[in-house]
């Protein structure tokens, strides 16, 4: 059986100078570049405020920053999302 991909967590980094590279985001998070999900990439969240999102291997995740205004945040919830129709009458969860 093919190996399932490692679980990832959603994180954000804040940079003052435009969209960071994967390596720059990894460095800020304190993980290796290969621990950052390249398929997801570095996603603009609010470029005007320098906020970008990445997905990082959960088992390599840094500890929460001790400084209250550190340059990264997370993990953030990444819940399942579903279409709002047709309406299901049963009690089945998605």
């Amino acid at each position: 059986m093919p190996e399932s991909p490692p679980a990832v967590e959603l994180m954000t980094v804040t940079v003052p100078h435009g969209k960071p590279t994967l390596a720059e985001a990894a460095k800020q998070l304190g993980v290796a570049t290969e621990d950052v999900d390249a398929a997801f990439g570095v996603v603009p969240v609010d470029p005007d405020r320098g906020i970008y999102a990445v997905q990082v291997r959960a088992d390599r995740l840094p500890k929460q920053p001790e400084r209250p205004f550190s340059d990264y945040r997370g993990p953030w919830s990444n819940p399942p999302i579903a279409p709002l129709g047709p309406v299901q009458d049963d009690k089945k969860k998605n």
Binding site: P5, P44, S77, N78, L84, G85, P86, N94
Partner: protein
């Protein structure tokens, strides 16, 4: 206790006269002093007598001239637990209960069709102002679009821009516009009701498969985050830059907080304005993209089973952000559908949601089979997105001079309120049912 009743009374000249006059003058009033007295009952003078014929099945013709019996309305005062009498002199006493329109619920058949919706939105009048979606891109953020099905349903190929569409990563996905017929195709069809010349853009986030989540009919929020990141960049420097305006239609959400991190977790989504996706929709709006979201299907009394019976605070996540326009659903009789999520929103988010209401539960795309309705607030959302795209056709209101927040204000102010004072908010309809003609007029289009 004052109890409303219907009295079935024998014919009387005054009743015949008033019933005859009421045919042409509905405002005619009964004079209670001119009919026989019914002790303990007060007759309602504003209710014109209704001829009942012989008041029996298959009886005489029920005309004012020939009828042997008439129905009149009245009230009786009784003790708290006392039942009304069965008769009042020669009159029969019948219940006059409160009635309400039958609610449209998940299993209800379609109520009207796409032509009905176009008529209610006065699309002909909107198009007479040259507001038809031309040069406006509408991103269908959903399961993916099937152009072949759309062409079969509308009789011609819709405008579509595959190059500006978003492609999920991973194993080669279908090309933009060639996804299986599903929810996204329904949404695309519904946009075209008010904006037939809009350019559809495919954003199949609900079919994306990132590590850690996703099924054929559900993705995870990170797919939407990635797609909107692409949209921001494309609007700034890429394929979306060439369009006069961009509208993003979102008929998706989460059904219950248990899908999310636990309450109080700083990374939670559903009630946290600081979640990256909730921050991102604000940035998208500031970039001039009109972001429209469905309110959800967790309304009482016909909530989707996935809501687990939770019908208060049911508008959550991005649908509860002030930067987006949040849409409730009504049927083509202007009645709220019984599953449309009601406001106020979940605690800690912007409370006055939904913003406005639009049409759903009509026969349209038949994406889920012949005879099935386009339903859920899922359909109401793209119907609204089509209206917004139509309005954005006008060169007088580019997003640079009328940002999304200002346009949404106008849509709220010009909506037709269904209960309560005009321009007031309520949890069922928000500020009322969308009125694109009124909005266009307010903007001098």
């Amino acid at each position: 206790m004052r109890i409303p009743v219907i009295l079935v009374v024998p014919a009387h000249e005054h009743l015949r006269a008033i019933a005859s006059e009421a045919v042409n003058n509905p405002a005619v009033r009964l004079n209670p002093t001119e009919v026989p007295p019914y002790p303990d009952f007060q007759l309602d003078a504003s209710f014109a007598p209704v001829p009942l014929g012989s008041a029996q099945l298959g009886g005489l013709e029920a005309t004012p001239q020939q009828s042997q019996y008439f129905a009149v309305r009245g009230h009786i005062e009784t003790g708290d637990d006392a039942a009304p009498p069965e008769r009042a002199g020669d009159a029969g006493v019948f219940s006059d209960p409160q009635i309400r329109p039958m609610l449209t619920c998940g299993g209800s058949p379609p109520v009207g069709n796409a032509t009905t919706v176009a008529s209610l939105l006065h699309v002909t009048q909107v198009q007479a102002k040259h507001l038809d979606g031309k040069q406006v891109a509408v991103a269908i953020v959903d399961t993916g679009i099937n152009l072949q099905h759309l062409q079969q349903k509308i009789g011609h190929a819709p405008h579509f821009d595959g190059a500006a569409s978003w492609m999920p990563p991973g194993s080669p996905p279908p090309a933009p516009g060639s996804w299986p017929v599903n929810h996204g195709t329904m949404c695309a069809f519904d946009v075209l009701i008010a904006a037939p010349h809009a350019i559809l853009i495919d954003f199949p986030v609900l079919s994306a498969h990132y590590p850690g989540g996703g099924s054929i009919m559900s993705g995870t929020l990170s797919a939407a985050l990635a797609a909107y990141g692409f949209m921001l960049g494309s609007r700034a420097t890429g394929q979306l830059r060439k369009y006069h305006a961009v509208v993003a239609s979102n008929s998706w959400g989460i059904f219950h907080p248990t899908w999310d991190f636990p309450p109080g977790h700083p990374g939670r989504y559903c009630d946290n304005p600081n979640h990256p996706f909730n921050i991102q929709v604000g940035a998208v709006g500031r970039a001039g993209i009109d972001v429209i979201f469905a309110a959800g299907n967790c309304g009482a009394p016909c909530a989707d089973g996935r809501c687990q019976g939770r019908t208060t605070g049911a508008i959550m996540g991005a649908s509860a952000m002030p930067d987006v326009l949040t849409i409730a659903g009504c049927d083509t009789h202007d009645h709220r559908v019984g599953y449309s999520s009601q406001g106020p929103s979940i605690a800690n988010m912007y409370q006055y949601k939904p913003d406005i209401t639009s049409y759903t539960h009509f026969l349209g795309s038949e994406a889920f089979g012949i005879g099935t309705p386009d339903s859920g607030t899922s359909a109401a959302c793209p119907v609204t997105s089509g209206c917004v795209a139509a309005l954005r056709t006008s060169p007088k209101i580019p997003p640079t001079s009328l940002p999304p927040s200002a346009l949404f204000d106008i849509l709220r102010k010009t909506a037709r309120q269904q209960s309560g004072p005009p321009h007031s908010w309520n949890g069922d309809y928000g500020f009322g049912i969308i009125d694109p003609v009124a909005a266009a007029t307010a903007m001098h289009l």
